[in-house]
Amino acid sequence: MIHLCDPFEINYKFTITNYEFKKVQETSEQYNFDFHRETAEIVRDGSEELKIKIGEFAGPLDLLLFLIKQEQANIFDIPIAKITQTYLEYIQMMKKLDIAVAADFLVMAATLIEIKSKMLLPRDPKAIGEDEEFDDPRQELVDRLMEYEKFKSAAGMLYERSTIEQAIFTRGPIESDENNAEVDASVFDLLTVFQKIAARHVDEIKMEIEREEISLADMIKSLKARIFEFGEINLLEFFEEMRSKRELVTAFVAVLEIVRTETVRLLQKTTFGDIVLKKV
């Protein structure tokens, strides 16, 4: 299913003739496009034939602006009936192509139909006169379109700027950079990092649950068995065998317990050398 909510992120391009279509291009993630050349296109030639290139509208307002331009209509006097019809045709087309039409496009369709029906209502005779323009059901839509188009133009400006910037390169890495192999951070980095740690932690907890916990009694038992078998145990090596913090603590307590109750001694053969647990 293709979602139209963000058509460009999918970069779908269709060519439709007589409601037959050919998928021209399908790529995900990568989008190299020309802001000015690759605008959407709906071509109506004479007959019932309808050619459409879709998937390149950034939203319902974008589509609407396009349709108004296509009709060469004045934005301040939108032929609402005609525009609504084309807009709905476009939505129909989407459905025929089995493209999930984003809710935002449907909301706009509803708005257009509502405006259209309001336009058909007989006007309140009292309202005719100076207030007439005030009551135009299209006014709110016009305002939104005008506001939206400013940002669409600004997006074009940003596109130009980024194109120019891509032609400029900064120096390659130098030795001193390595002292600074660090990352910039924003609050979202904090959150992302925290989520990653949490996920990692969940994995570890799962692993711990899967393992059987060794009780202190069992630990003492196995430790005793080993001492009596080998005569002595390297404590560091013994501790390193422990697979979790909890096991380590248990092992440590077990050692203390054995030293207290049994005839074993803790020995350090050399200063800073390994500590050995030895049968007396």
Binding site: D6, E9, Y31, P60, M157, L158, Y159, R161, A167
Partner: protein, 187 residues
């Protein structure tokens, strides 16, 4: 020995000396350097640093070499000249990076001009959900969270980042043309 003497009673640096030093520092910095930082490190007047940088930029300009001095994101930077992009790209074996989608560019434009701005406010202007675009822009570090709005649900507010200035070649946000300038284009 000599160095020590210099350290104690440093003779004031000549403008030419200062140009030499700031050129080296701007080169080693891994991002645009603010003249205040340079002034602090060198214990010089900020005005003197600015003057040295301006002079250096002029010198680079006149030299017509492979490099240029740019004032960007509130700092100074050495970079290659635009005209050489083809050769540089061929050498680095890089291709122009994937551009932002139309939807992301629009979202970025709204955020740049309306910041700090919330997701519902962006929806209001664009008429379409912008979550995917906002995620992309956050991932690319072009926008940052700017606290929460004191409104129902306390939504996050977004604004542009320093990376935005760098990637779009802007000294600061005031360098953006006014949004009203785009109005003329509309009708």
């Amino acid at each position: 020995m000599e160095e020590e003497v210099q350290e104690i009673e440093r003779t004031p640096r000549s403008p030419a000396e200062l140009m030499t030093i700031v050129e080296a520092l701007v080169f080693v910095a891994d991002e645009p350097v603010n003249s205040r930082v340079l002034a602090d490190v060198l214990d010089e007047d900020r005005g003197a640093i600015e003057a040295a940088m301006e002079e250096l930029a002029k010198e680079y300009e006149a030299r017509e070499g492979g490099l240029q001095i740019r004032s960007i994101a509130g700092g100074w930077q050495i970079a290659t000249r635009t005209e050489l992009h083809e050769e540089v790209r061929k050498f680095l074996k890089t291709r122009p990076s994937a551009k932002l989608s139309l939807a992301s560019l629009e979202t970025l434009a709204v955020i740049a001009y309306k910041q700090p701005v919330t997701v519902p406010e962006i929806l209001e202007i664009r008429g379409v959900q912008s979550a995917t675009s906002i995620k992309t822009l956050l991932d690319k570090r072009l926008i940052v969270a700017k606290g929460r709005k004191e409104a129902v649900g306390r939504p996050m507010m977004y604004g542009t980042s320093k990376d935005f200035l760098i990637q779009f070649g802007l000294r600061d946000l005031t360098e953006l043309p006014s949004i009203e300038d785009f109005e003329d284009l509309v009708s």
